[in-house]
């Protein structure tokens, strides 16, 4: 049967069982949007965001929350370039996405036509792969391949650029059953000899620590990890991306690792004799000074991406493959362990950890807010954050007991991620409570998405950590730049409550500690979009932290 290019696209999305797309139309993608209009019924939800960056972050949030591929659709030129931050963000955090961009007609490509940009060129380094469709006959196989590449191996974003004439052209629709790319064969199995020697090392170790990264979540290997921990009593630290891969209320959970990590985690990793690193890429925010990173430890590194092994640090036992698979096999080769001495050392270190200390600060401060969230939602809500101090407070203090319940921009640290990602999350998980923790700086980077959220009746609760500053940067100025607060005071902030009300949502302002919990309860009963504008101390800091280039066990702000 002959279909138009755009009908082929819709049929492909149907085959892929896509439930929602996010985007904004424009001249070069109008044929596709017009086809959406003709479909009765359209097989997926079509969400109009207010900015393409909102669309791609929403698709990203959707993908992180559901584990499915996120999809966004935008026009050529400025529509396409507005995706750049979101694609880079998804790329850094290994999030499966497929982005469709309209392109000027084939005959005009390369002529600096109106709204033409070389988006495949621009996104080359920030996508897992990208395509420009040059024939209508190629569309189906490109789309099939794109989804396959996005979700398999180490997941990532794939972009498909489609010239307008290709959208309009007619061709046969034939959804390929199989992908056959000679150059793309992710390995899932894991080398059995390596797995055995890893098991031996694990059984010999006196002071082992597991570093659990985002790869554990991507591979759905959370139960397998838990099984190993129960058997061996090996304590676990999460990387930032790994939050949710191991429950934060478990007695063997040490906290988050790294520059803004937790004292206990950093100390234990530094004292370990064996590191079992799962699905992590040893980002510099995790390792601190590389030369001093766990000096006494041998490292077992298990990852689906062979290029991550040995990239930053040298590895004793590398295992490439699917974590779920490999942890299952590993489990067969290891026996029970107690590790009493090591766990005692853990208790001693934990006693010094400022994060676990109680405090009686009467102000409406970050820890209080995060703990109130735990109290009301009992670790069942999905926490989505923006980027800044509030993000690290959320990482330290909120309880995250399930995978895909902490959604945050890790590798790129893109301010403006929070609100649109919360939109994608809520659409993907309509029956979950979705809390968006944002800063007054980052919130204003995609504030227009209030319209998307409120118009679509998404009951998200935004906790706006309003300190009147670009707080994270202000803190660095305070600590390392003699308190010269250049360009970090957010003078001219709007009344956020009124802004939300203007969009049709509900806003509350809270200044005092005692008002927070009742307001949060009220917000949770509303079943609507609610923003709580929390006025926190302007100069509250995130502690402890590791000075750039220091070793991670040397933390500022422990005592």
């Amino acid at each position: 049967m002959e279909l138009s290019g755009t009908e082929i696209i819709v049929e492909c999305l149907k085959q892929e069982k896509i439930k929602v797309i996010f985007g904004i139309p424009g001249a070069a993608i109008m044929p596709l949007y017009d086809t959406f209009g003709k479909y009765e019924p359209l097989p997926f939800k079509n969400i109009l965001t207010r900015h393409e960056q909102g669309a791609v972050h929403a698709a990203d949030g959707y993908a992180r929350a559901t584990g499915e591929v996120g999809v966004c659709v935008v026009t050529s030129g400025p529509g396409a370039t507005n995706l750049v931050t979101g694609l880079a963000n998804a790329h850094m955090d290994s999030v499966p996405l497929v982005a469709f961009t309209g392109q000027v007609p084939t005959a005009l490509v390369g002529n600096d036509a109106f709204q033409e940009v070389d988006i495949t060129g621009i996104t080359l380094p920030i996508t897992k792969h990208n395509y420009i469709a040059r024939k209508v006959g190629d569309l189906a196989s490109i789309i099939k391949e794109a989804f396959y590449i996005a979700r398999t191996g180490r997941p990532g974003p794939v972009l498909i650029d489609i010239p307008k004439d290709i959208q309009l052209a007619k061709g046969n629709f034939n959804y390929p059953e199989k992908i056959n790319r000679k150059g793309y064969n992710p390995s899932y199995r894991g080398h059995i000899k390596q797995i055995k020697s890893a098991a031996m090392k694990i059984m010999e170790a006196k002071k082992p620590v597991i570093i659990s990264g985002g790869g554990v979540i991507n591979a759905n290997a959370v139960p397998e990890l838990m099984k190993i921990v129960i058997k061996t009593n090996i304590p676990v630290v999460n990387t930032f991306m790994g939050l949710g891969s191991f429950p934060t209320n478990h007695h063997l959970f040490l906290g988050m690792l790294g520059m803004y990590g937790q004292y206990t985690a950093n100390q234990l990793v530094s004292n370990a004799d064996l590191i079992i690193a799962l699905g992590t890429r040893f980002d510099d925010r995790i390792t601190g000074n590389l030369n001093q990173f766990c000096p006494q430890a041998d490292i077992i590194h298990i990852d689906i991406d062979p290029a991550e092994i040995g990239k930053n640090i040298s590895i004793k036992i590398p295992i490439v493959g699917d974590l779920k698979n490999i942890l299952q096999q590993l489990n067969n080769f290891i026996g029970g362990k107690e590790h009493n001495l090591w766990l005692q050392e853990l208790q001693e270190i934990r006693a010094k950890d400022p994060v676990s200390r109680e405090d009686n600060d009467p102000l409406l401060h970050s820890r209080f807010i995060m703990k109130a969230l735990n109290e009301l939602f009992k670790g069942e809500a999905i926490i989505v954050t923006d980027v800044g101090q509030h993000q690290m407070w959320a990482a330290h203090y909120t309880r995250v007991n399930y995978p895909r319940h902490f959604i945050s921009s890790g590798g790129l640290g893109a301010m403006g991620f929070g609100l649109p990602a919360a939109i994608g999350t809520k659409i993907g998980c309509p029956h979950k409570t979705v809390i968006c923790i944002s800063g007054d700086g980052g919130f204003q980077m995609n504030i227009q998405e209030l319209a998307t959220a409120i118009y679509n009746r998404l009951s998200i609760i935004v906790i706006l950590m309003n300190n009147g500053y670009l707080g994270m940067v202000r803190q660095l100025q305070e600590l390392f730049y003699d308190k010269r607060y250049v360009s970090t005071l957010l003078a001219g902030n709007p009344d956020f409550v009124k802004i939300v009300e203007a969009y049709g949502g509900i806003g509350f302002r809270v200044d005092k500690q005692e008002d927070f919990f009742p307001t949060l309860e009220k917000a949770s009963r509303k079943n609507q979009f609610v923003l709580i504008d929390c006025h926190i101390p302007a100069e509250e800091n995130i502690f402890p932290l590791v000075k750039p280039d220091s070793s991670i066990n040397q933390m500022i702000g422990v005592d």
Binding site: G121, P125, G183, G310, K311
Partner: protein, 165 residues
């Protein structure tokens, strides 16, 4: 340390940009890059010369392998390799004795004169790096007007070690 990397890629638009872009982006130093069709329709062979230690080399190979269009990558050990480069060079010739001197060099190096003008000769020459370098050095005193080099291509000595799909 110099390394010769042989790559098989799918013959698709943008592949060269993907490969070359990867090198720049990751701070790897390309000395030479050459690409052309292989014996298999739809598949091209690339030869890339890079410098770096073993760790850098390992990263390069792993990162290249991640590219979807890249089918195989191999570092070919120096002892196992036949390398060639093609050069076209135009040299200044201002007298008859010089002309015959150059022709002698051309013969010694098994090069070929491909074009002659009143004041210049254009010579084609191929060989490994050392031979090409040596030849150009000897021509230098005459006054070189223009050099065009292909970059190096390489093949393994034995068919056993060849890079196949």
């Amino acid at each position: 340390m110099k390394h010769t990397i042989a790559i098989l890629v799918e013959d698709l638009p943008g592949v060269m940009a993907r490969v070359a872009g990867l090198f720049t982006r990751r701070g790897f130093n390309i000395e030479s890059i050459a690409v052309g069709h292989s014996e298999i329709p739809g598949i091209s062979r690339m030869t890339i010369i890079v410098s770096g230690d073993e760790k850098v080399l390992e990263q390069i190979i792993k990162q290249l392998n991640k590219l979807i269009d890249v089918i195989r990558v191999r570092d070919i050990p120096a002892e196992n390799i036949i390398e060639r480069e093609l050069v076209l060079v135009r040299v200044h010739v201002d007298s008859l004795p010089i002309r015959s001197e150059i022709i002698q060099l051309v013969e010694i190096f098994k090069a070929k004169v491909v074009f002659v003008e009143r004041n210049t000769m254009t010579i084609e020459m191929s060989g490994d790096e050392e031979k090409v370098g040596g030849f150009l050095n000897l021509l230098k005193p005459f006054g070189i007007r223009e050099i065009v080099r292909t970059g190096r291509i390489a093949i393994t000595r034995s068919s056993k070690n060849g890079l196949k799909v």
